[in-house]
Amino acid sequence: MRIANKTITATRLVKDALDKAHEFKDYNIFTFLNEEGALKKAAEIDAKIAAGEKVGKLAGVPFAIKDNFLAPFGETTASAHILEGFNSPITATAVAKLLAEDAILIGRTNLDAFAHGSSTENSYFGPTLNSHDRERVAGGSSGGSAVAVALDIVEFATGTDTGGSIRQPASFNDVYGLKPTYGCISRYGVVAMASSTDCIGFFTKSLEDMDLLMSIASGKDSKDLTTLDDYYNNSEVAKAEKVGIIKDFDNDSVAPEIRAALKSKCELLKSKGYEIIELEMPALKYALAAYYIIVPAEITSNLSRYDGVRYGFRSDKSTGLNELYANTRDEGFMPENKRRIMIGNFVLSSGFYDAYFLKAAKVRTLIIKEYEEAFSKCDFLLTPVAPNPAFKLGEKANDPVAMYLEDMMSVSLNLAGVPGLAIPAGKTASGLPIGLQLVGPRRSDKDLIEFAKVLKEDK
């Protein structure tokens, strides 16, 4: 990434970013642009550089945040009507760490409302367009962040990944996207979706940038008691020998060009002396069903806080308090938010709890065991991110289950808490990006980034 110095000023970098943001306005990438604030901050950094003062590792680097990160720059909306007018007085730890290194916030990016979706079409502000084909979806839920990086508006962007929301849009837009190990980066100040699977991560244009951002963002946070001690900066990169591919994913439900891309990367690895082994992971077949039980259950709980009383939108049609709650939630949530809350309440209801929620929690154990077993036989797994490249806008918008099926290969990592790195892996004949994901055991984030360099074609 370009970092400000005496020759390239932060002001230049920020102006370029803002110009591009305007140029690509019709892609509907941003929910807020921090124009004045970014230029002001850039001038401050330039003055420091001119005076020979020390500046941060990300001095003047323009970046964007997914609009579910709290920070006092514009409203934090999570692309949902119910958070309208929410000007957060607090800053998410992940954002604070980036700002402390003098990165410059350009804007907030569009997402599926509350990150519920796989296309960014469920946004209250309308869909974001794909960077490579304007008739197709950006992917989701962090679609705006992926496109902002793919169109080179910003150097990097933050995202959240509960079931694929970083990796899938990264793969739809030809950029890198990392879902770190569960607990690696603080979630303080990020709108919660499903607490047992939510992860914070990044979109970048290079592996070096990803490494730099991880070294800055990871580590324990006293404000988030589910953070791990900083292992990232203390990781020794282990030598890898074997890469596993999952047989259960090699079937007709995956687009032929994606299967071919996987095959070609395997050939590349073989030519570089790595061993490819085929693994069977039969429980992964049930990961999606388990995910769409566990996650809605947690959503039901996390979204119960939106009542129109303390912050955000409040319906003005109500005469009583209960009516105020019901009307605010009715008008404030998108249809997919409602479906997930209702499914969550269903699977947690007495009479259904054992058959759904408890059963899904048991399937989760099987999935974790399968990953453990897999990593006793190989160093990493290489799999598709999604079964198809970016689909047409509207194609799956009215079919929730068809949309869920897009998450088939990404959700199991979140259930197991293991990291996954989406890497660009070529294009389809019609020019759509193809992505693959490299998966490793818990705390192998740095190894994944390092090993992904091996997967780049030698030029």
């Binding site: 000007n87 607090i90 069903a289 009583g320 249809p335 209702m342 499914i343 048991k362 154990t365 079919d399």
Partner: protein, 95 residues
Amino acid sequence: MEVERETIMHLADLSNFSVSNTECESLKQDLGEILNYISQLDEIDVSDVEPTYQVFEMENVWRDDEILPQEATREELLALTKEQKDNQIKVPKVL
């Protein structure tokens, strides 16, 4: 799976939102299809498996029971509400 109108209304009630008649029809279909999909877990026998509810490696992370400095002030937080009176959040009459 067939989802009855009563089930939709009950779930809407548990979820604390109202559902219109047209919305109810589409929810019946969508929720039916989703439940159909997730019911495929019926296929596997997990009776001997322990459930997993979280994948964080630790449990019971404690801190000292003391008031820590807060990032936001009372005024900043009250400013986020639609209506306030006497330094408190105002809502419609309850009783």
